[in-house]
Symmetry: C2
Subunit: 237 residues, 2 copies
DNA sequence: TCGCTCGTGTGATTTAAATCACATTCTGAG
DNA sequence: CTCAGAATGTGATTTAAATCACACGAGCGA
């Protein structure tokens, strides 16, 4: 599956995308140089699994290019999609630090490049640079918040409509980093959306059309625009 | 509400309960001594709110004695109880590190004593002791895992029965730290259990009795014993 | 071009569980 | 002890949404 390679060439890392990432955006230059030295870059094809729920956590991953679907599945086959991770997102950190197996599955949904750092190597790095530990802690806080909101959406937004509305809103806000653009691309199937909203595929289809008929959103091809955020917000309860 | 007081006397901290806590169990002696110096001890009466959802995160709290209910409420009044925190649990860490308002409400469900450390004081402490940052990160990983499991329970365990079963099982396992005791005390009302399982009070009552009739659990007073864990497990799906 | 699978759209049916509406039993404050 | 308010128990009713069961079009490899 994974088509690997090449140790990370420090030079071109100086311009590498992973540089402007949440996690290590403002390390000291030395720490940053050190960071560039650890781990290797790996490329994965669409559909490749970076790791699977239950696997021992052997690496920490930082996405440089591409998108990765983070999900979890129950014994009876129901899938919960937690998020679509993109460049800058760190994967597997909590499992590595808590020293437990991966609690989620990470699958490339498009060809992607990922910085891959062996568990111990990463921990050593954190040990060498105290400040980096704080960044890691902050990164985890962010992750925590995300999951927390998911939990809240699932538990409290009584209706399926509410959950879907919340999902779209959250989505619009995050995809437009910075200014609250309310247009974004939805390269997901209704099935996948259903898995994120904790509902069924049919319900997603119906609701999406409902929203469209009510003129709250418009869909052109793969691009979705939220026309009446306030109306969606109202459903949220 | 909060009846405060007295700066933390370092001497008696040497035997203090918070010493053997997950977060800072194996710091260096110096770091530990430093830890004992920061923050103050506060006592709170049953029902007191340590902080409320939406409040600016001004402090990090470490429970020394007592139990604290961690919950979150939606606009329409539905409550989700995330966990009952006990001695050793750290509260407010993610909000402080992510620099966002508290996302949950913490309420004492019995008289309790809590080490309270001002935000900046705590961050400075982490800065002084790089290794402590890693412990903080690990603590967050744990929290993350908890919330993650909650989310999973809510999203994937299709039936109310499944969610309740899972809750009881998780509960039994955690309350018996170490050996898998399956007896534990349930000082919670059906209403509160419902809020944790994401269901209604009536359903909890019915299911609990159902389980009892089927001899899967027994309840004597406030003590609950899981007799047939496997049967409950089966409901989990 | 022909199928084939996949994603989507929509009705009809079923079902789990929330809700409503009480009765009963604890529990603790005065 | 007594009484009021919680907490619990249980039926009847309602409802949201899952499920079932299709039809339709679009893309794609053979």
């Amino acid at each position: 599956m994974a088509v690997v390679h090449s140790h990370h060439p420090p030079e071109d890392c100086l311009n590498c995308e992973h540089r402007h990432l949440r996690m290590f955006c403002n390390l000291t230059p030395e720490a940053l140089a050190d960071y560039d030295k650890i781990g290797i870059m790996m490329s994965h094809a669409r559909g490749a699994k970076l790791f699977t729920e239950g696997d021992a956590a052997r690496n920490v991953f930082v996405i440089c290019f591409g998108q990765v679907k983070i999900s979890s599945t129950s014994r009876d086959g129901k899938t919960m999609i937690l998020k679509i991770a993109g460049p800058g997102d760190v994967m597997g950190l909590s499992a590595v630090l808590a020293n437990v197996p991966h609690e989620v599955t990470a699958e490339a949904i498009e060809p992607c490049t990922v910085k891959t750092v062996r568990k111990q190597e990463f921990i050593d790095f954190l040990g060498r640079h105290g400040i980096a530990s704080m960044h890691a802690a902050q990164s985890l806080s962010g992750e925590y918040l995300t999951v927390f909101h998911d939990a809240k959406r699932l538990a409290l937004s009584g209706s399926a409509a509410g959950r879907l509305a919340r999902l779209l809103l959250d989505w619009g806000r995050s995809s437009a980093n910075g200014k609250p653009e309310i247009r974004f691309t939805m390269a997901l199937t209704h099935e996948e959306i259903a898995n994120m909203a904790g509902t069924s595929r049919e319900t997603v289809t119906r609701l999406l059309n409902q929203f469209r008929r009510d003129q709250w959103i418009t869909i052109r091809g793969t691009s979705l625009t939220i026309v009446k955020p306030d109306q969606l917000e109202r459903l949220t309860a």
